[in-house]
């Protein structure tokens, strides 16, 4: 007997793909925003931070609705993107957008904390050695924050992997297109005889969640040990 049915494998593969692409897509923006919040003082900073936390605080369904209102086919931005052939509503790419938005605050918070812990005096030393802003970022700030960034990426991945509310609101439940693992579980809960499938997929979720949690703990612990040694 196969471990999972074909459509269950499909849901698992889609969830993994969505989560990986969500983190990869969010990472450059998260790095830029985290650097801005860690290194610069500017007007509107508090507003930006409040906006950043919104996906963590809002009910995910509301975030999904907001995405639909913004990126839906007849929404202003969605219509504009549609002219360039980019449609995300009710597509698996929309699930990536929803997962990226939901994981974004976790990624930014972790990366920002990692940037905050980099000794600024080392960046100043690099500057006296001729390194411009980009080189300092790439050769000092980034490598010294690597573990914190990786821990943030794992957390964002876990959040994206488990995403349900924003995804179902934004891209619905289309088998093979937008039916991610949590949505497949929800679907099975609502059909007679679905419980064995629910148990199988719940077990798979547990394994992925445990692996992500262990990785995040290990990376964060490593970062703290490194900091301790450098102090």
């Amino acid at each position: 007997m196969a471990l999972l049915a074909a459509d269950e494998w499909q849901a698992l593969a889609l969830s993994l793909r969505v989560a990986v692409l969500a983190v990869a897509g969010a990472a450059p923006f998260a790095l830029a925003l985290a650097w801005l919040l860690s290194r610069k003082r500017f007007r509107g900073r508090m507003l930006l931070e409040a906006l950043l936390f919104l996906p963590l605080i809002l009910p995910p369904v509301v975030t999904g609705y907001a995405l639909l209102a913004l990126l839906g086919r007849h929404a202003p931005l969605g219509e504009l993107l549609g002219r360039f052939g980019i449609v995300v509503a009710f597509r698996w790419t929309g699930a990536v957008v929803a997962a990226a938005v939901m994981g974004f605050p976790l990624l930014v918070l972790s990366v920002r904390q990692a940037f905050d812990h980099v000794d600024r005096r080392l960046e100043a030393a690099a500057e006296t050695l001729g390194a411009g802003a980009w080189r300092r970022f790439a050769t000092i700030t980034l490598p010294l924050s690597a573990r914190g960034i990786a821990a943030g990426a794992v957390l964002a991945f876990a959040r994206a992997f488990g995403e349900f509310g924003a995804t179902i609101s934004f891209v619905s439940n289309i088998p093979g297109e937008t039916r991610t693992l949590p949505i497949a579980i929800y679907e099975l809960l609502n059909v007679p005889g679905g419980m064995p499938g629910v148990r199988r997929l719940a077990l798979v979720s547990l394994v992925v969640a445990f692996a992500a949690s262990a990785a995040a703990t290990r990376l964060a612990g490593g970062a703290a040990r490194r900091r301790g040694r450098e102090d």
């Binding site: 080392l122 100043a124 500057e127 006296t128 050695l129 001729g130 390194a131 411009g132 450098e230």
Partner: protein, 236 residues
């Protein structure tokens, strides 16, 4: 040659310093809080003074009256910080080469500096596996390999035990003899001034008290010691 005039207000110090010197090694001597490190930071571009002018060998790095302020990364100032500030994620070789220009002749210079500072056996080590003296020697080598127009040494021997101190001092003496880079040495130890400097600028409370040749400085110190109880190490 260095020409420097600076004015800057800190919360606890009014810095108003001016001097010019042709010395190869100039010592800034004074107690803690006199403004010595602030002068170095201004030369390196890490401190933007309210007013000032800094020129080294005719190259103007700062002239607030004319709105000139060369960015730190383009000043070519080799700064050896009191705490070394080696990059912990790079080994000694990576640290040494961080500021080295990417030119063919860098390889020869690298070998020469490694030899001069006795770093050959340390190249693969990470900073946290180095002793205090070794870390300072790497920091000096790293600053020199960036081909600086001036070398700033901020209390390079502080925090080192006697043996490491003597070792780094000997290496600095060799550098002075063999390289001839203009060096500004910040210290509050008279013996370091005597061992390395040609001229001394004495600072106190953010102001220049005196500028004098090293022989005169040492003679004054000796006379003061002979006349009365020895002054505390940090005293002027």
């Amino acid at each position: 040659m260095i020409e420097l005039s600076l004015r800057h207000a800190f919360a606890d110090l009014e810095l108003d310093v001016g001097f010019r010197s042709d010395a190869r090694v100039l010592a800034l001597f004074g107690p803690s809080g006199a403004g010595k490190t602030s002068v170095l930071n201004a030369i390196a571009g890490l401190l933007a003074p309210r007013q000032g002018r800094i020129a080294i060998d005719g190259t103007v790095l700062l002239d607030s009256a004319r709105g000139v302020r060369v960015p730190t990364a383009r000043r070519r100032i080799g700064y050896v910080f009191q705490d070394g500030r080696l990059f912990p994620h790079l080994n000694v070789r990576g640290n040494l080469l961080y500021g080295a220009p990417r030119r063919g002749r860098a390889a020869g210079e690298f070998a020469a500096i490694v030899d001069l500072l006795g770093l050959g056996a340390l190249l693969a080590r990470r900073p946290h596996h180095l002793s205090g003296g070794e870390r300072q020697r790497v920091a000096i080598g790293r600053a020199l390999l960036a081909e600086p127009r001036a070398l700033l040494l901020d209390e390079p021997l502080s925090g080192l035990h006697a043996e490491a101190r003597a070792q780094v001092l000997a290496h600095l003496g060799r550098l002075k003899r063999e390289l001839g880079v203009f060096t500004l040495l910040v210290t509050h130890h008279a013996d370091e001034v005597g061992a390395l400097a040609d001229e001394v600028v004495r600072l106190a409370d953010g102001h220049v008290v005196r500028q004098l040749p090293v022989a005169e400085f040492l003679a004054e110190r000796a006379a003061a010691t002979a006349d009365g109880p020895p002054p505390p190490r940090a005293a002027l």
